[in-house]
Amino acid sequence: MFAVEAHNLVKRYKSVQALNSLNFTIDKGEMYGFIGPDGAGKTSLFRILTSLLIPDEGSATVLGYDVVKDYREIRKISGYMPGRFSLYPDLSVEENLQFFASVFKTSIEENYHMVKDIYSHIEPFKKRRAGKLSGGMKQKLALSCALIHKPEILFLDEPTTGVDPVSRQEFWEMLARLKKEGLSIVVSTPYMDEASLCARIAMMYKGDILAEDSPEAIQQMISGKLWSVSGARTYDILRYLRTFNTCFNIYPFGQNVHFQVSGDAEAVFQQIKNEFQNIQIVEIQASVEDVFLHLSARTEEEKEVLNG
């Protein structure tokens, strides 16, 4: 049995197609990531999988339960952390956790072992109102609330959005420990660099899955060599590379610019080196973000062709 199985899942809002017939399976005990920006359809998908939204077409099961028919079971076995802060800002940290425990007819004491690792970080502030917590602490409280009823599968919708790198790293460490205890974890994120922390990822863009595989396999999905140039102002290099009609997929990455060359690459490099001093050009392994940029560019081009 799969943790999640989806067949031809479609969701529309008036004129907008939020999900275009998605198909995927997630294994039990797997850490699976939906990577994509705002508007990719991640939240619609999570709401369908947690039984909060009914798909227009297709079907999905979570641990064997149908997301439409068996919504009661789904809600018992799933922990859901929505994207936007979902707790009661006027209740204290402890009251929020108590509330979620009582909704599921349990108590903090009964399932304390489930949340101990995470909740202990914020327990010193348990009398503080949730609205007054910092971003990283809110995130830990929300995760504790999603865990307190001892779910078998966790759905975390953008748990690290807007959170600083230190809290993000801590959060992923907590997820890794939960996974070890056998939980299936489905997580979404707009941060491409977080992809490597998942066993498998689905790259989402405008309601479609552009690619689905392990992060390592996804990184191999680029055809041809990828080059990185550094050593001068990013914007200057970027503009210069665009003057070549043999250069394509030109994208800035911090102080580097990644690009591909059709035809004689060495000739292009020589010209770049003549234009800028102290420049370095090296061949690199594509990152997940490179692949996303290349695949989403292809989608955009296809749309342009279709729209004439």
Binding site: G135, G136, G162, D164, P165, P190, F292, S296
Partner: protein
């Protein structure tokens, strides 16, 4: 090289009761610079940014924005700065054109002057076809460009961008940065916060706040060298300690 300083912050302190949000900040920003303002959640970035925009008064210290004093000249400061927040601060149920008119009106740009400028802007953004469309129904990337252009409509010499790219796809984020580069090249000073560490590397200089203080301030290249780190994410993780980021 003696560069023109447009933001000067000296011994800036901001306290809320017993809590010191900004603990003696000292820094300068140069004209035409892209200045990255990074830090952990709760490190005091927003507090400092509000003070620089004239929305909040410091407890003590001096802040000079393009020659204006933060205590006395707040009205003038608000006219010479542009501001764009995370959620783009556009009115979703107004059209593109109405949004431009609304924000222009706040800065007293009306009548003939407004119409001429608005027309020029809409042409520059290639938004002629959507000028009368509600902002709610235009793509995210367009909204973002529009929000930035509106923040720049009164031609401020300084623009503050508070996490302008949060949640935006990698392609649109890069297009947005080109607008920032273009603005900086025309002499505009860009003061920006972000949680994307690759974006920190697009900045000329970056400051990293931790616990109300500036833990480091330098070019991305020097920050990486000094921390012995291969990217800005590592620099950040080395400078900002987890237990401290908590409080």
């Amino acid at each position: 090289m003696d560069r023109e300083r447009i933001i000067i912050v000296k011994n800036l302190v901001k306290k809320f009761g017993d809590f010191t949000a900004n603990d003696n900040l000292n820094f300068e920003v140069y004209k035409g610079e892209i200045f990255g303002f990074l830090g952990a959640n709760g490190a005091g970035k927003t507090t400092a940014m509000k003070i620089l925009c004239g929305l909040s008064k410091p407890t003590s210290g001096e802040v000079d924005i393009a020659g204006f004093d933060i205590y006395r000249d707040t009205d003038k400061i608000r006219h010479i700065i542009g501001y764009m927040s995370q959620r783009f601060s556009l009115y979703e149920d107004l059209t593109v054109y109405e949004n431009i008119r609304f924000f222009a009106g706040i800065y007293g740009i009306r009548g003939k002057e407004f119409r001429a400028k608005a027309e020029k802007l809409i042409a520059k953004l290639n938004m002629e076809d959507v000028a009368k469309t509600l902002v709610a129904s235009i793509p995210l990337g367009w909204k973002q460009k529009l929000a930035f252009s509106i923040a720049m409509f009164h031609e401020p010499p300084i623009v503050f961008l508070d996490e302008p790219t949060s949640g935006v796809d990698p392609r649109t984020r890069r297009q947005f940065w080109e607008m920032i580069y273009q603005a900086a090249e025309s002499g505009v000073t860009v003061f920006i916060t972000t949680h994307y560490m690759d974006e920190a590397e697009y900045c000329d200089r970056v400051s990293i706040m931790d616990q109300g203080r500036i833990a480091a301030l330098d070019t991305p290249k020097m920050l990486k060298e000094n921390a012995g780190a291969k990217n800005m994410n590592d620099v950040f993780l080395k400078l900002v300690r987890p237990q401290k980021a908590e409080l």
